[in-house]
């Protein structure tokens, strides 16, 4: 199972393997990989955006809440998008510019969840000479429950 420790941080490597705007077929599933979410990954993500809610850090406190234990912030899908996709995924293409995203949240992700992603390009179009792709994503936990679903608009490198 691929984990963050093995994550290739040089996005230029494998760049030639990634689909360009011309290659991307709307509707075609993207390759994805399961990812086990860890407390460490949640805590690191929380630190990066300044989250301080103890429900993400303090197990004793989290047990007293209706969630019954630690959870991840809803926006943890920002990490999951990269942890659940392989190095040749076109979302890693250098120069990919994020134009906006929308996400719906069902249940929280939790430490030790084994998270899977179903993802595809949904649409591609040209606007003001820019090459856009719309991507469509659903994250599930190990029980098959939907954690969140979302859509994003990226401008593809030319």
């Amino acid at each position: 199972m691929a984990q963050a420790e093995a994550f290739e941080t040089d996005f230029w490597k494998d760049a030639n393997l990634r689909k360009t705007w011309d290659d991307i077929v709307p509707g075609e599933p993207r390759k994805t990989i399961p990812y086990t979410l860890t407390r460490h990954a949640i805590e690191l993500y929380c630190r990066s955006v300044g989250e301080t809610n103890p429900i993400y850090f303090d197990e004793a406190y989290a047990k007293t809440t209706r969630y019954g234990g630690l959870i991840a912030p809803p926006s943890i899908h920002i990490l999951l998008m990269f942890s659940c996709t392989p190095a040749d995924d076109w979302m890693r293409s250098p120069g990919t510019v994020n134009a906006g995203q929308s996400w719906s949240y069902n249940i929280p992700a939790r430490p030790a969840d084994v998270i899977t992603l179903q993802a595809r390009a949904l649409d591609k179009f040209i606007k003001r000479e820019r090459l856009f792709v719309v991507h469509d994503n659903v994250f599930f936990n190990q029980k098959g429950d939907v954690i969140c679903s979302g859509r994003g608009w990226t401008i593809r490198p030319m």
Partner: protein, 149 residues
């Protein structure tokens, strides 16, 4: 005062946290999100043009805005027993090291459905010059049986 569905009115404001953007904060977000796009790391790369756009240097991840807005919404909703259900965002202007950004929410509408109660919130993120860098809309559920606690 903790928000309740009944005491909320259109126009009520949610003040989000100020966030100082630096090379270090951007690098930390790379490590936390695993998004190592050179847009956020490589000054030489960012000297180039992107179609008709030249950013002039590295820029913060758009999704850092998203995470900050989401933090504002959950910090506001959770003490009220409410649940952050949706966030839609659009990036308006690049954010650079040295900027300080702050999200704000403005209650737009309330609606009850057969099984729950919902609050729509307009979201804007501004930089230290008061310029809008991101806009969006959030949806928060106020369940009839309060949820978080």
């Amino acid at each position: 005062m903790t928000a309740t569905f009944d005491n909320l009115s259109a126009g009520d404001v949610i003040d989000g946290p100020k966030f100082a953007v630096s090379r270090e904060s951007i690098r930390l977000f790379c490590d936390a999100s695993l998004d190592y796009n050179p847009l956020h790391l490589d000054d030489d790369y960012m000297k180039g043009n992107f179609g008709k756009t030249n950013f002039g240097g590295i820029i913060m991840h758009g999704m850092n805005n998203f995470g900050l807005i989401s933090r504002m919404i959950t910090d506001w909703a959770c003490p009220a027993g409410a649940v952050h259900r949706r966030l839609e965002t659009r990036w308006v202007k690049p954010v650079r090291p040295g900027d300080t950004i702050q999200p704000t929410g403005i209650i737009k509408a309330k609606q009850s459905t057969e099984k729950s109660r919902w609050v729509l919130i307009d979201v804007v993120v501004k930089n230290q010059a008061g310029e809008r860098v991101a806009t969006g809309e959030a949806l928060v559920e106020f369940p009839r049986d309060l949820f978080c606690q």
